[in-house]
């Protein structure tokens, strides 16, 4: 018992030092490193948000870019055209995305498996097309895109996304280790079986979908403020869906910390390869990815749990 408590204290101490270090980064690191960490945290939220819904319920969401794009557009337009303060524009974008997700969820979450995945791709692509048309141009500026300056300093943006990533991981931890998380898992395991055991699967999966939309949307708003620019093919880009999914698979689908670890490893491997073997980097990256999927299908955390390096615990 004493050793357990000591272990617990050590873990908390380690975490506190890590958090202090991350908060302090803008004071000593170069802009390159701050930028890199901003991207890591943005993608960590995308991946964790994707995992929160898809990792638990088994409904593979191939429309993550839709959350990102819709929220990104709302907040960017509010800042660019209506002069909103960024701190206000971001949550408005995320809340707006969550609200439409209620409707989208009610319609699309009736469809299962590959059909749900495809319908989310279709929704994303359709929205991308629509935002570029002349009909939407008065609001979205069409395909020309929206350049804007939010007047936020790089360190402030870094702290904002760090705070969001931190909250997202805490929320995931809470959900995964709660009865709500177990109920979501029953949807993945056997949805009809869960229904006949009294679990309101429709309500559970829609709330998870909305929560995922909110977190991912908020990160999307921050993403485009950081880029100072948004256009339809950029906002609803399929890579914004695929990269977080690959990161999650990398770190461990259905685990709390897998997406975060995946986002960190993925971004750094990406950067190193880009710098070292610029011409071959996609090929090498692809090979690493295939190797990981072949030999570690449950991802890094899943593999470590399987091998007994980490306890088989929903809290990891």
């Amino acid at each position: 018992m004493n050793r357990l408590i000591e272990g617990g204290i050590l873990i908390w101490l380690g975490l506190a030092i890590l958090v202090a270090f991350l908060i302090a980064i803008p004071y000593f690191a170069s802009d390159y490193w701050i930028t890199l960490f901003i991207l890591v945290f943005i993608f960590a939220v995308y991946a964790s948000g994707w995992n929160l819904f898809s990792g638990l319920t088994g409904y593979t969401n191939f429309g993550l870019a839709w959350f990102i794009g819709v929220s990104g557009y709302v907040s960017s337009l509010l800042i660019a055209d209506y002069g909103f303060f960024w701190l206000l524009a971001w949550p408005i974008g995320a809340v707006f995305t969550s609200i439409i997700s209620i409707g989208v969820g009610h319609i699309l979450l009736r469809i299962k498996g590959v059909y749900f995945a495809i319908s989310m791709v279709a929704l994303t692509e359709g929205t991308r097309e629509l935002f570029g048309t002349k009909y939407f141009a008065p609001i979205t500026h069409g395909g020309l895109g929206v350049p804007f300056v939010a007047g936020i300093q790089l360190p402030t943006l870094y702290w904002a996304i760090l705070a969001l990533a931190f909250c997202t991981v805490i929320i995931c931890y809470k959900v995964f280790s709660s009865k709500y998380g177990l109920r979501l898992m029953t949807i993945r395991e056997d949805e009809q079986g869960a229904e006949t055991l009294g679990i309101h699967t429709t309500r559970e999966k829609i709330t998870a979908f909305i929560l995922s939309a909110f977190l991912v949307g908020l990160a999307g708003s921050i993403h485009f403020t950081y880029q100072n620019y948004i256009d339809p093919s950029f906002a609803f880009n399929i890579n914004l869906t695929l990269t977080p999914i690959v990161m999650t698979l990398f770190g461990g689908i259905g685990t709390v910390f897998g997406p975060l670890i995946g986002a960190i490893l993925f971004t750094f491997i990406h950067e190193i390869l880009w710098a070292e073997v610029t011409q071959l980097y996609m090929a090498v990256f692809g090979a690493i990815l295939m190797g990981l999927i072949l030999f570690f299908p449950q991802g890094l955390l899943g593999w470590m749990k399987e091998k007994g390096i980490l306890p088989k615990n929903r809290k990891l």
């Binding site: 109920r183 898992m185 395991e189 229904e195 006949t196 055991l197 009294g198």
Partner: protein, 237 residues
């Protein structure tokens, strides 16, 4: 809700798949505290009937009453929360979750009380040693017991069992049937679909026979056994 009258009433229920009637004007009552066997050849409509009672399917016409309340058209999770539990012919426990999680997720109310109750039930079905194992690691028979424990976790008053004895060894079968009688004496009502007539004859007080979606006989097991029409349909005499 009335405490008198049958716990379940099936009234003129019709369910067609295309043009084929799976249930054809089927009516009967299930008395509180009984163990009723539901028999009939393959395709007679037994599983369809379970699906209609639990809300997995909706009848074309007719009504289902549970404790006097019309539950026709209600959602499966609503009917389950009212106290109707079922197990499936194919096991439907949650394979990627531990035994304890399989039960906790069904429980309602205070966390500590739910865990306590889950442990009691695992003890009852003799699976408490495996509480941290994944359900996928259990044998077929053990999964059936876990499935029953889930239904008990739901605190169902009416429990529908789809072929509980099929595919499990005789020892486990006996344990399962003993458990059913024990629960029955505590007031739980059971409806059992079973192909093994010995199980029906030795464990059910009452039986209902279906064929081509129609009720062709109803009565005590003795009466059913002596019923000529039934013997013709079921045993091909």
């Amino acid at each position: 809700m009335s405490q008198i009258g049958p716990i379940l009433r099936i009234e003129e229920v019709v369910k067609k798949f295309g043009e084929v009637p799976a249930l054809d004007h089927c009516s009967f009552d299930i008395e509180r505290g009984s163990i009723t066997g539901l028999i009939g050849p393959n395709g007679a409509g037994k599983t369809t009937l379970f699906n209609l009672i639990t809300g997995v399917l909706q009848p074309d016409t007719g009504h289902v009453y549970f404790k006097g309340e019309d539950i026709t058209g209600k959602k499966p999770h609503e009917i389950a929360r009212k106290g109707v539990g079922r197990t499936y012919q194919i096991i439907r426990v949650f394979p990627g979750m531990t035994l304890l999680e399989n039960l906790i997720v069904v429980g309602k109310g205070k966390e500590s009380r739910v865990i306590e109750r889950a442990m009691e039930l695992l003890d009852l079905v003799k699976l408490v040693d495996k509480k941290e194992d994944y359900a996928s690691e259990l044998s077929f028979g053990q999964q059936k017991l876990l499935s029953l424990a889930q239904v008990l976790m739901l605190d169902a008053e009416l429990i529908l069992l789809d072929e509980p004895a099929a595919g499990i060894n005789p020892t486990l079968q006996n344990e399962l049937m003993t458990l059913i009688h024990q629960l029955n004496s505590q007031g739980k009502t059971f409806m059992i679909v079973e192909h093994d007539m010995n199980v029906i004859m030795s464990h059910c007080g009452h039986a209902i026979a279906l064929n081509y979606g129609q009720k062709i006989a109803e009565g005590t097991c003795k009466e059913i056994q002596d019923n000529e029409t039934l013997l013709e349909h079921y045993f091909g005499k």
